[in-house]
Symmetry: C2
Subunit: 274 residues, 2 copies
Amino acid sequence: MKMINGVAGEALALADRAFQFGDGVFRTLRCDAGGIRFWARQYAKLAADCAALGIAAPPREVLEADIRQLAPQDGAIKLIVTRGESQRGYAVPDACTPNRVVQVSALPPVWPAEGARVRWCDIRAGWQPALAGVKHLNRLENVLARREWSDPAIQEGLLLDRDGHVLEGVMSNVLALSGRVLFTPRLDDAGVAGVMRSVVADVAARNGIAIREKVLTPAAVMAADRLYLCNSLIGLVPVRELSGQHWGVHALDSVLQAGLAVMTEEETWYSSEP
Amino acid sequence: MKMINGVAGEALALADRAFQFGDGVFRTLRCDAGGIRFWARQYAKLAADCAALGIAAPPREVLEADIRQLAPQDGAIKLIVTRGESQRGYAVPDACTPNRVVQVSALPPVWPAEGARVRWCDIRAGWQPALAGVKHLNRLENVLARREWSDPAIQEGLLLDRDGHVLEGVMSNVLALSGRVLFTPRLDDAGVAGVMRSVVADVAARNGIAIREKVLTPAAVMAADRLYLCNSLIGLVPVRELSGQHWGVHALDSVLQAGLAVMTEEETWYSSEP
């Protein structure tokens, strides 16, 4: 199911700058039984990412109307906002009207409850402070990183940055627990600051677990008491194995999951009456 | 005029990975009176860029047939090769058939014969050795850099890299003449290695002008005897002004232009009999 500017459609003009330059942003939302998790945060992040690129974000109610039309029950919803269409060349014309796309796909396979198996990627994450944190459509790095493994038993790969510090997963953010402090990489120069990362930070704060942004070395990650990955589709998933290092159940696993369940319920928006 | 996989078309499936991730490469060719400049080099670079991303490049004769169908006389031809279509997610399915697009646009305005006026961009070029040199579809940096100025009297902006070294123009490569040596930035960690850059290197070599890749500081660029920009549409254009620094005609200007004219004639492919 796909909708372009409020109308069912499967194809977009070649002139769209998303196709020509990756000139746009996107969001991935989880929808369960018609409830869209963390919709208010997702919209706020979409609007912030649009602003970072100088794209006019569609009003929230416009996107909500699109979603209502699609009436998803369970699925992964991808929202894409492009800068719009233009002639050849990087210059943006004065009149450039954003295109918005809403796609609904089946939810991906659940990651193992006992934890994810994870590898280190060879490719380094790029450096670009002007785009850091933004979930934009220039995602070749993620594509190349994901191509490094085909073993379905491996759920995720971790990326280092130019300086050899841990940055993020190919499709998730990383949190390393030490005592009662969750450390997560700074994303000033690279990476995507996911909505679920902000949710987990709030869950931690509510439950007396400190959360801090920090430069994380691979050694610090390997020495963590527990490692977690998060994104909007998987939620928060512990890591069972990373490159030969194994972790078992941690006392805070259930604290975090229970806190996340509470916050998920608080922050779910229903596009139609249940 | 646009052609998708050999058939006239204006729209591509949303499922195409170029739209979702910028997962593809492109080339910009100049066509004059039906002659496509440096076609053999352009195709070789397209194939190399496809290989760098693990995309199967369309055979040369297939693209030539597309171009013959379009029968352009004068124009800018953009060739795009995408990895193909897939479902949600970064993972590339085993069966992923590239899509190819050929677009013809009007040639952009000629840059002033007396030289271009150029500025320094604020945004830095990103660092990513895995993509360096490749003309891929992740071009948000170029878009943001081009948005920094709207004065039509300024033709180009120059980008520094993370380390503050001169990397390239938003849409061109840079060459700085000192004595009889043309220095051009190394592109190991960022930037696009344009076809015209390789042509100019050959023109220089033929005419007894040395060409060397080097780390170039902004100070070295400002102190150059002459500064040139090149790409496939503008050819080789001297810089008249960069941020208050002015350059006049240099004795080697005409040597380089004459050499380029010879090589252009040698390496033009006619898609139809003239």
